[in-house]
Amino acid sequence: MRQIPFTAWIGLILTGLFLICAIFAPWIAPYGNGEIVGDVWAPMSSANVLGTDNLGRDLLSRMIYGARITIFIAVLATALAFCLGSILGFTAATVGGKFDMLLSRFVDLLMAIPTLIFALVVLSVLPTTVVTLILVMGILDATRVYRLSRAVAVDINVMDFVEAAKLRGEGMGWIIFREILPNALSPLVSELGLRFIYAVLFLSALSFLGLGVQPPDADWGGMVKENKDGIVFGIPAALIPAGAIALLAISVNLVADWVLNRTSDLKGGRGNG
């Protein structure tokens, strides 16, 4: 792990901090998640480092618990989107023919409906639990991943080394996971960074509209909603979760950029030429 560039260090440290907050939330947070500790929208003080929110709860504690919920849902939704999207995309590219046609048109159909509206309809019908949230977000995001991985795999599928593998008699599994996947990793990793952030933003949007994480729990998007009225009075409580979303977006993408550099190297990461 020599020669990690400066920007990657920043990304790694920040992402690491966010993860530590998320995992050890009950131990780190000075107060409980729903505990009312003071006045409504109290300013920053030594007791409440970031002040309090619209109900007088400690904002720092809310932020830390919020990190846990936000990152947990976003990570699982992105993981689901990538597993589903890339495997189906690769399979469609390798099998081709009718299978590819059916799957691609079905994905087009899903994509034709605006994601947010689709999610709103589904979530208003189904009970709003964390599992449904993850499933809805994962499946909707998988359509994007499917398009990308299919496009990348179609190009790789016509290369001579894939033909050589087919001539050898290799099965679908080897061709997808050993021949195509390693060569498709670069675009997928860069997409992974983006998709994770979209998942965070999507979750925030859903929570803002009241269909995401339900109170008293809140993700960062929900916290923006709770505190948005304060902005009019010059109270920064809404800006802090918003800033955290931005910071997470940047730090995750700094890490993704670095991983991208490593995976796009054809010499096993041994040179940087």
């Binding site: 080394f161 001539l167 940087n272």
Partner: protein, 554 residues
């Protein structure tokens, strides 16, 4: 004209390169980045109106030196020492603006791949006159007139209208000639030809070569002609410089270099094509028998193979020869099952092969291996050599762990590469080494037949020679048969036992080597044979006159 007056003041010595040193920074595996010297203090001179040939294998620095005459260093390359005197002044000291005035006006460049060098979004005429207009040498009307005259001189079809076409609308050989016209249009003093015919078929190469030679003679332009093919350079150059690893090996006039080479390396280059190979007699029962195969692309619309029948005997080599588009690679695809034939049958080792690849048992797949033209793309860039060679061992023989690694080491030894290569990635190998690894991969399956699709076409002559010798040795040891697809007749002579000549999807001539290469020839075989450049000055003119038919012009 002002230009003619200026010409009288120009010195007799057009290009004078003195102690040129070119360096580049490299990032080798397992080592810290370092600076290497690509060109070691090379000096050469070129008089006005003369042609100088630069010869050498890849990595010899010939393109790098050629481009230095335009004060250009490709891809991170740095010109770190010496002088390049063009028309009496050092162009390395001119600075960006000064160099821009020189390029396209005093020196022009003809690239190896014209298809990649033209902008596909603009018409040919716009690109041909661009440099002349940019430097204010001529008005648009004058430049276009000159371009049409050049198209005529380069014997392009429809010289008046070809300029209105886009690059994809003309063939590769024609595009290369248009590129020569582009270089000539601004009436430069020097043109750098960087392997202009290497990517072309033999039958097309001869046309382009003749056109370039005539154009150079009529316009009195000087030229640097870069190629790895000594026989080609011998046709156009007055003088030849032989380069190796960035050092000057030998220079002399063309006659001296090809007839009386002084250095061992030059002798090796001159003698490169000759491998003695005695023809084997056909056995009573052929191992592979292709009977009346017809195959087509696009659901039967484009017929690429018409009623093709050939036989291949155990442990022997059948060469399939023809120019691009003759269907020789399609024949390989039909045999491997990638393109199921519409009619006809293919029997192998006494049994009939299924038409479709998916229907063939694993054993059939193992017995029949393939080696590709482009070793770069035939290997997964993300797998190490160990995985690439070891996979067929795992897949066909179930070898694992130590047993497999040991066999990989044996195979690496067979292809004359050390075990140290096992952990390298394809990007860390040279072109010849890549092809050797591909050979090892196909040998790992212990096949009875290997289809070699233009395996030496992308390689330098000396490296290609090494690969051919290796293939012949392996044939002796392993008793494997080759179906050898190529457009290069010199290769055929050194390796084949039987030859099939293909033209537009049909086998026009077929039989044992001695019989096929014995007169009387049919018109197409004659064209193919007479198009192979010979190491003789004046061969080009004789060959052009003696031709009985035009090439297909691909």
């Amino acid at each position: 004209m002002a230009k003619a007056q200026a010409a009288t003041h120009k010195p007799e010595m057009l290009l004078d390169i003195r102690d040129l040193r070119i360096e580049a920074r490299v990032y080798p595996p397992d080592e810290a980045p370092k600076t290497i010297t690509l060109v070691h203090d090379v000096s050469l001179t070129l008089k006005r109106g003369k042609v100088l040939g630069l010869i050498g294998e890849s990595g010899a620095g010939k393109s790098t030196i050629g481009l230095s005459s335009m004060a250009f260093g490709r891809g991170g390359v740095k010109i770190s020492g010496g002088q390049v005197l063009l028309n009496g002044r050092d162009i390395l000291t001119l600075g960006p603006a000064g160099v821009r005035k020189v390029r396209g006006r005093e020196v022009c460049y003809v690239a190896q791949s014209a298809a990649a060098a033209f902008n596909p979004a603009h018409k040919l005429m716009d690109q041909v006159v661009e440099a002349a207009l940019l430097h204010g040498i001529a008005t648009r009307a004058e430049a276009e007139k000159r371009a049409v005259a050049l198209f005529k001189k380069l014997s392009l079809p429809n010289p008046e209208t070809i300029g209105n076409r886009y690059p994809h609308q003309v063939s590769g050989g024609q595009l290369q000639r248009v590129m020569t016209a582009t270089a000539l249009c601004s009436e430069p003093d020097l043109i750098v030809f960087d392997e202009p015919t290497t990517a072309l078929d033999v039958t097309t190469q001869i046309d382009v070569l003749a056109a370039i030679k005539d154009a150079i003679r009529d316009t009195h332009v000087a030229a640097l002609y870069i190629s790895h093919d000594l026989a080609v350079v011998a046709q156009v150059a007055d003088e030849i410089v032989v380069l190796r690893n960035g050092r000057l090996v030998e220079r002399g006039d063309t006659h001296q270099i090809i007839k009386l080479p002084q250095q061992d390396y030059t002798r090796a280059l001159v003698a490169v094509h000759e491998i003695d190979h005695t023809e084997k007699q056909p056995s009573p029962s052929p191992m592979l028998s292709v009977k009346n195969v017809t195959a087509a692309y696009g659901g039967g619309v484009v017929k690429v193979l018409k009623n093709v029948s050939v036989d291949l005997h155990p442990g022997q080599t059948l060469a399939v020869v023809g120019e691009s588009g003759s269907g020789k690679s399609t024949l390989a695809r039909a045999i491997t099952g990638l393109l199921p034939p519409e009619q006809g049958s293919i029997s192998f080792d006494g049994r009939t092969l299924s038409n479709r690849l998916a229907d063939r048992p694993k054993e059939d797949l193992r017995q029949l291996q393939m080696i590709y033209q482009m070793a770069d793309v035939a290997m997964n860039p993300r797998q190490t050599v160990r995985t690439i060679i070891g996979r067929p061992l795992e897949f066909y023989f179930g070898m694992r762990g130590k047993e497999r690694d040991q066999r990989v080491a044996e195979l690496l030894d067979k292809i004359e590469m050390g075990t140290g290569f096992a952990d390298r990635y394809p990007a860390e190998l040279s072109g010849g080494q890549k092809q050797r690894v591909c050979i090892a991969r196909s040998l790992a399956a212990k096949p009875k037949l290997i289809i070699c699709d233009e395996v030496t076409s992308a390689l330098d002559p000396l490296v290609a020679n090494g690969i051919l010798k290796l293939l012949l040795d392996l044939q002796q040891e392993e008793k494997v048969a080759y179906l050898f697809i190529t457009h290069d007749l010199a290769t055929v002579k050194s390796i084949a036992d039987a030859i099939a000549v293909m033209y537009r999807g049909e086998v026009v001539r077929y039989g044992p080597k001695s019989q096929v290469l014995e007169p009387p020839f049919d018109a197409y075989t004659d064209l193919l044979l007479s198009s192979v450049p010979e190491m003789e000055q004046g061969w080009l003119e004789t060959a052009i006159q003696g031709r009985r038919m035009e090439s297909a012009g691909n």
